[in-house]
Point group: C2
Chain length 343, copies 2
């Protein structure tokens, strides 16, 4: 079946994308010998097998991802996944997120479908959310909100006085687009920022770089440990009981990566024992975070519900990346953000 429609670039897109970005997609590549065709996935309507055959590209857009979590597929995603998995001539899937840890991605990868993620696209959103969490903890924003609700004037002085980030030491695990955005912001706030990654080197967004092998050496002096890495065999349970015990009891932990980068029961133990000052957590080993998790109401713990990568202009910025990539694809140039499944 391969090469049955060599001259048409059929693209599986949602009806929402077709409507809002159709003209922009067509503008990516204008060659009558290889016309772009939008194959529109509308709600739960089926495509004809002829349409599915013509699909060489698929865009898993923000609306298709919908309210999916790592362990739950939105009906729109389910329907889209079924079509994508059945498309015999699919060559490339553009994903709207940075994480490449869904079963769909492994299945496509095994079939030889190329994957590109949206790493740079949501980097600013994730980095700014990490920073929102850090500043909420260090400036005690929950106390503002509580006092405001009670219409109570409560200056944060005396025993309530909050700290700030200046001159504090941050360790950022992961030096991709998200980690670098975090590093750049924290340095601008006067922090000393060490980036941790696989290889040695220098990056302007960090005061220093260390390898994963050197992580243990930098933990004892970290005021903030920030996880912004993909979930891989190296990072799975990277932060376990032993590494948590290397941190200062005054240190804070931030996770905007994946829940399983932390061994969650050990984190809960450390927080209970006050061997850690607090944590801002966007991701968890099991999502949705079970109602019974003690993390929900532990002192010094701030939680958001896997929302760091959600931002209003996500679709707009994803489409900008997709259109740039489509132009590359149509003339056989390398794709931006090509990646492989990590789970």
């Amino acid at each position: 079946m391969k090469q049955a429609y060599p001259n048409t670039c059929g693209i599986l897109v949602s009806d929402e994308v077709a409507k809002e970005y159709g003209p922009a997609i067509f503008s990516a590549y204008d060659d009558p010998n290889q016309p772009i065709e939008l194959l529109i996935v509308d709600g739960d309507k089926a495509l004809t097998s002829d349409q599915t055959d013509r699909a060489r590209v698929a865009l898993l857009s923000v609306d298709v991802m919908g309210s999916s979590t790592r362990s739950y597929d939105d009906p729109k995603l389910k329907h889209f996944s079924e079509i994508v998995l059945r498309a015999p001539n699919l060559e490339w899937l553009q994903i709207c997120a940075s994480g490449v840890d869904r079963a769909l991605y492994s299945a496509l990868h095994q079939k030889g479908v190329r994957l590109t993620n949206a790493a740079g696209v949501n980097a600013a959103s994730v980095a700014q959310t990490a920073l929102a969490g850090m500043l909420a903890l260090v400036r005690n924003v929950p106390a503002w909100i509580e006092a405001q609700k009670q219409q109570k004037w409560q200056p944060l002085r005396g025993p309530l006085v909050p700290d700030d980030l200046s001159e504090r030491r941050a360790v950022v695990v992961g030096t991709g687009a998200i980690g670098r955005s975090i590093g750049q912001a924290l340095r601008a706030l006067g922090m000393h920022v060490t980036g941790v990654r696989r290889t040695q080197g220098d990056l302007p967004e960090f005061s220093a770089l260390r390898t994963f092998e050197e992580l243990d050496q930098v933990l004892p002096n970290a005021d903030w440990l920030i996880l912004a890495c993909p979930l891989t065999s190296t990072t799975h349970h990277l932060i376990d009981a032993r590494r948590l015990s290397l941190l200062s009891p005054a240190a804070y932990l931030v996770n905007v990566a994946r829940g399983s980068v932390i061994h969650e029961p050990s984190l809960i133990d450390a927080l209970f024992a006050r061997r850690l000052a607090g944590a801002y957590l966007d991701v968890f080993e099991s999502e949705p975070l079970p109602e019974t998790s003690p993390l929900w109401d532990m002192q010094g713990v701030l939680i958001s519900s896997h929302s760091a990568g959600s931002f209003a202009r996500h679709q707009q910025r994803l489409l900008a990346l997709f259109i740039k990539n489509l132009a590359q694809f149509c003339v056989d140039l390398p794709l931006f953000n090509e990646t492989v499944p990590t789970a």
Copy 2:
């Protein structure tokens, strides 16, 4: 009485400062011909008139300011002020805050006492608090906290999806240490930042600079208007009904300056009419903000109780400045942060 003790540098300090920083203060200047003497103000105990006569310098430290607000004097501040106002040979007062708008400061200034503020000292704290408020608004941190309280998994997607700051335009009024710290942080987050000040020029912390006369021209394109200026005759009610109406209804207002930089009733009108998306306010025309103020529970309004300049390491950083200044004072060199009362 002037020059009665020309060879002693008597310094009025709190008992807390004497205890924690005494040795450090003595180390500022070591000359047997002009020995430093600490004149300790302990609780509400009176000083002898001889001691008061010997005071040439006074340090209004963080513990003395206590829980004072712009309109309320903590008993410790009251007692300290009385002593300071009676000291006939006082030449210089170091203040722990940046605002120079208390009656005490005008009274001392009229008597010829030099004033230095702590502008650079709390700049990082104020700037980081402004950023905490902005990120709390744009990433909807109040919704995280509310969901967490209810132990409810609530990803911010669909209608709840929050915006981010990238590529947005900020206008920062005031380009002192605080405004520059804010500018630097926002530029690192990918914002376009215009600074507004009296004079033309360039500063690396801003994408562009405008004068107060040009403020009206930059307001219509501002996504965020951030007030970080001193309260002066120029900035009093700078943001009034007319200027609020120049802002986009999608714009946010941030005030970490002084309440009276905004005409508060006009702000309340604009927020009620949804002619403004929201506001983060640390300061108010009347403090404590009256319980009856509609600001407490307006949609999109985040409030902190004049806490932006409060931070745990305030005393430590104030003393570093004071000791640097004392070394200058003892050898008749210019003082850092010398200023005049603004109210």
